[in-house]
């Protein structure tokens, strides 16, 4: 299948094409083009590095949404051993926008919860493009409570544009479902490692996004609302999304500076979609490291640290004493 190239990736395609042609020629004609290939590869690497070092926030959003970017289920396939899916919230139905289950990551038994976006059209429709209903958040909570009961750490894969905006979602209490998850995850008596792998937007992200260690992939984004949503409200047109992406400060380094995430997971050259295998290896190692680290912390300390971490996020100042708000 033809690969989708983002606008800023297009300069790479010519060099990649050349490399492919030379490799083909080598095979066909038995000549040695390895030196030439090496040179082109080198300039390709330089070019990709340069391009990716200067990405705008809006371009990063495009990478985070790249159709070939690995999703929760791809990581499960890549490095979760013996995955046993757990379905349904035992209240209403099974929300396919959230995938939950037991598995082994880096030798540790864990409970996995994650958004499921889908790759092809049928799958995307089936899981509402990764936008969960209340039953998705309640399924995740049920599985997290199960993890707590049996002392399994939770690993959350975050990749959503937000909770599903629909009548049914409202009727079944999407606000309550997210709120309950925020409350319960803040006091869940087992370690939680979260990884923002693509899009981490709105309350829909946060509903499975409270963690002891929150990781974010280098070209993921994380925001109070999608840039389009923000632009539609504040600029009154979704076309201003690139400006909104800039203003919202939604890149991994921004999030690190705000103290919202703990660690940035580097992506392969040209981002995860160009080398999903390498991405999976890096992510698995990183999650494994934090699982082992958190396992050493007594649960009461863990909860105290978790609260302190949630507690300190935010920036406020004291107004000069004596001045009144009205004259500010």
């Amino acid at each position: 299948m033809a690969r989708l190239y983002l606008e800023f990736e297009k300069p790479f395609t010519k060099l990649e094409e050349q490399i492919r042609e030379l490799e083909e020629k080598q095979r066909r004609d038995g000549i040695d083009a390895s030196a030439e290939i090496r040179d082109i590869r080198k300039s390709l690497i330089v070019m990709v590095r340069k391009q990716y070092a200067a990405l705008s926030p809006w371009e990063i959003v495009q990478i985070a949404r790249h159709p070939d970017r690995p999703q929760t289920v791809d990581y499960i396939e890549a490095f979760v051993k013996d995955f046993k899916e757990i379905r349904g919230d035992r209240l209403f139905r099974d929300d396919r926008a959230v995938v939950c289950g037991l598995g082994m990551i880096a030798g540790e038994r864990v409970m996995i919860v994650g958004h499921r976006k889908g790759h092809d059209t049928r799958e995307k429709v089936e899981c509402f493009f990764g936008c969960a209903h209340p039953e998705g958040y309640r399924k995740a909570m049920r599985c997290m409570r199960l993890a707590e009961k049996f002392n399994l750490p939770v690993v959350a894969f975050i990749d959503t544009q937000g909770a599903y905006p629909g009548i049914g979602a409202e009727e079944r209490g999407i606000a309550e479902a997210i709120a309950v998850n925020l409350r319960e995850m803040s006091i869940l008596r087992t370690p939680i490692v979260g990884a923002i792998i693509g899009e981490g937007a709105s309350g829909g992200y946060l509903g499975i996004g409270v963690a002891d260690r929150l990781l974010m992939l280098e070209y993921a984004y994380c925001s109070v609302i999608t840039p389009e949503g923000c632009a539609a409200i504040l600029w009154r047109t979704a076309e201003k999304a690139p400006q909104a992406a800039e203003a919202l400060k939604l890149t991994a380094p921004d999030l690190k500076a705000f103290g919202v995430i703990d660690d940035i997971v580097p992506e392969p050259l040209g981002a995860a979609h160009r080398n999903p295998r390498e991405m999976a290896v890096t992510l698995e190692r990183r999650i494994g490291r934090y699982l082992r680290e958190l396992k050493q912390i007594p649960v009461e300390d863990l909860l105290a640290q978790r609260y302190a971490k949630l507690r300190r996020v935010g920036v406020t100042i004291e107004a000069a004493s004596g001045s009144s708000a009205g004259s500010a």
Partner: protein, 272 residues
């Protein structure tokens, strides 16, 4: 500029008369004010500012405010069609508040409480770092002092101009409420018009008891976005207090005139 942001709306003449958004009748402003800011004709509950709300709920002169001077330094240096700094300055001028929340100790019919109120006229009562911090401190004080927490929400949700920091206030306030609950504390959440998005999806939905004012708008996603997604007419009364009670997410709908005695009675029932 009149005393609050409402007067900006062009169809409401300033002065003695108000046009009621509920029944569209012209009503005498003083009668509305004397009637808990409720329309005497159709019982429409007008939005009330934070100070008015406290005056309606707390015993006279009992309110002692916490974190009075807390404000936002505009950490993102956010600019859309207007800068956040300007929006803050305008809201501060209009409401005489530094931000959208006022919290403190108070008495309601002689019962000590920690009281928090959001002001719908301050950038739609949206929650940024200041609101999140104040609600968190309110929950922590309630835990520490062992008195009930009462929060009246009136908010459009998380404040976009503080980006991810505003979203993070949802988990922060919910975590504070979790600790209050674990300590056996009572939390009465009062949802007033509107209680939506990030505030509905955090502390406001976590009350031991959830009260709503009549016809208050309550929900997560805005109706316009839902309509655009579903391309289908929204049901009659969608996302009202009555709709939310019917679907099981609001315990009681209480008219503003009864709110004080209702809260006092609940506190007594729970022995707090």
């Amino acid at each position: 500029m009149a005393m609050n942001g409402r007067a900006k709306k062009k169809d409401i003449p300033e002065g003695l008369w108000l046009k009621c958004p509920g029944c569209e009748e012209m009503v005498y402003r003083k009668r509305v004010e004397e009637n808990f800011h409720v329309c005497p004709e159709c019982q429409y509950h007008f939005k009330v500012g934070a100070r008015q709300r406290i005056a309606l709920l707390a015993d006279a002169d009992s309110f002692e405010e916490y974190l009075l001077n807390l404000m936002s330094p505009d950490p993102l240096e956010f600019v859309d069609r207007k800068s956040y700094v300007e929006r803050l300055a305008d809201a501060q001028r209009q409401t005489n508040l530094y931000d959208a929340a006022v919290v403190g100790r108070a008495y309601i019919k002689g019962r000590p409480v920690i009281l928090g109120v959001l002001d719908p006229n301050f950038i739609m009562g949206s929650m940024g770092s200041v609101v999140g911090e104040k609600i968190t401190v309110a929950a922590e004080k309630a835990t520490e002092l062992g008195v009930p927490l009462v929060i009246c929400s009136a908010s459009g949700g998380a404040r976009m101009m503080e980006g991810i920091l505003s979203l993070a206030q949802m988990s922060k306030t919910s975590a504070a409420v979790a600790r209050l609950a674990r300590a056996g504390g009572l939390f009465i959440s009062v949802m007033t018009n509107p209680t939506t998005a990030g505030v509905a999806a955090s502390f406001a939905s976590l009350g031991d008891i959830i009260i709503a004012e009549p016809r208050a708008m309550i929900g997560f996603t805005g109706p316009r976005v839902i309509y655009q997604t579903m391309k289908q007419e929204l049901p009659e009364g969608f996302q009202t207090a009555e709709f939310m009670m019917e679907h099981g997410f609001v315990d009681r709908i209480v008219a503003r005139s009864n709110l004080r005695s209702e809260i006092a009675a609940l506190i007594d029932y729970f022995g707090k």
